[in-house]
Symmetry: C2
Subunit: 290 residues, 2 copies
């Protein structure tokens, strides 16, 4: 029953205005749908600038509930265009409890489910532990009928455990909505090594699990008050079960990627390299220790 | 106390004669030592051809005990040249019990310990489940004084759990002695994708764990009675904690690689990307299920 599916990746810049970002995202989803995409993913926290560059408690005002009109709008878009969506958002779950989340929306406009970013970074200019509680929903694969979709968010991409557990839930593809870039002192050859490492570790996750991965990053520079800022490096890509790059985006420009993927390659690849047969589950207990 | 260390990788072809293979390996270790290598790794099962292409119970005669003169010879070589060694061998542990093992030898010629291949493949022309019991010693890092060394063998390279647990034992570098290549019907563009996948998944292991990896493969074609055979693809390489290739060998020729690695990069890289801080050990329990 597995077939070829067109997948859309939205690489975009964000302004200070949520309304503008949402309009732009809607327009880019429409373009992906025009080109035949049956599922489209937006970048992490696409509705705002990457506010985690600083500690500022007014930024919590940017968070929205799971029933917010913004999400309803994307549900209607999904229904109208018959396209499934992965929509990242800054989630207010309750007073003082916030998550870095993504809603998965079926192509009939209903909610398929929610994923909350599991691994929360906290590094210079990425103060996420201040804003987000660690995700509490575990790893998931959402069955959309025509494809099973895993979602992991940005920092999650560096943790092979997350990809493995998502694959074990049955995912055909893992989307990685992201907001990753370089700090001013990382530009140059060191930064290029870091960008390559980001691509390579995700291709490694595809290979080790025999599935597709799609990394969907923001692009452009977002400054901050102290003159630092982050150069988001774009470079969104989609890779197959052998880690082969199927399509990739620019390092500097907004871009809509629509790529056709052949889901039958998952079974084919896993027959050639049956890693799931040979996992030594009797020896992996140490994974749950620090 | 961490310093720059020269590491040797021996990529070689094997004949039908164990004596010839051992002489060649000794010579190549000597060359690596001449060039300053302080630790050298040989390919998987380097003393013989890759006999797992067929089921043949006379091949069990190729196995040796842990106290075999072959291993003593490498212990003496290590002592004489003051070089640590990773020496793979077909281990006879007892009647009817065989492992695919590697002995780690200190640079004073003493044994540092043993690793037994954990993940055993069984695929066309790779009938390893017939010959080898699954390794029962778990994942290890051997402290050689100047470096902590993890060893994983070939098929182990595809399992991120193995790299993670070896890293958690404190390894600075993981050696992957290997015997991997292509079957006749895999030559061409599909085979090139597979070779790239092999390189990429190991670079991914380096990145996800912030350590060095060294893949040490055999090279050349070894035929079998039915005219099939395996084209071992060489391509041995050593990569750093960002997955950057430090040096790599030919796809077709024997080669001694000696590469200098800077162990201080491990701490530096892990400070920039502190994955070990952020692992969600409360959510990884599923890793121990099939």
């Amino acid at each position: 029953m597995k077939e070829k599916i067109s997948v859309g990746l939205i690489q975009m810049t964000m302004s200070e205005k949520t309304g503008e970002n949402v309009e732009k995202a809607v327009g880019m989803v429409e373009r992906a749908a025009d080109r035949g995409a049956r599922i489209v993913c937006l970048p992490e926290l696409f509705a705002t600038r990457y506010f985690c560059q600083s500690h500022n408690d007014s930024n919590f005002d940017l968070a929205i509930g799971r029933d917010d009109p913004l999400l309803k709008r994307f549900m209607k878009l999904a229904e109208r265009r018959k396209v499934a969506l992965v929509v990242p958002f800054f989630e207010r779950s309750g007073p003082g409890l916030y998550f870095n989340s993504s809603m998965v929306i079926n192509s009939d406009g209903t909610e398929a489910g929610l994923y909350r970013k599991t691994h929360i970074p906290d590094d210079p200019s990425f103060h996420e532990k201040y804003y987000f509680a660690p995700g509490d929903l575990g790893f998931k694969a959402f069955d959309l009928g025509f494809i099973k979709v895993g979602v992991l968010i940005c920092w999650d991409q560096w943790f092979p455990e997350a990809a493995r557990l998502t694959a074990m839930m049955g995912a055909d593809i893992i989307f990685y909505p992201s907001a990753i870039g370089l700090l001013p002192d990382e530009r140059g050859s060191e930064g290029e090594k870091m960008r390559q490492a980001w691509i390579t570790v995700q291709r490694g996750n595809a290979i080790a699990n025999g599935l597709f991965v799609a990394a969907v990053n923001r692009v452009g520079c977002e400054g901050n008050a102290d003159g630092g800022g982050i150069d988001f490096f774009g470079s969104s890509f989609i890779a197959g079960p052998l880690g082969e790059i199927i399509d990739s985006a620019s390092e500097t420009e907004e871009q809509v990627i629509v790529a056709k993927i052949d889901l039958s390659l998952i079974e084919k690849t896993r027959r050639t390299w049956p890693f799931f047969r040979d996992r030594r589950i009797d020896l992996y207990g140490g994974i749950t220790s620090r």
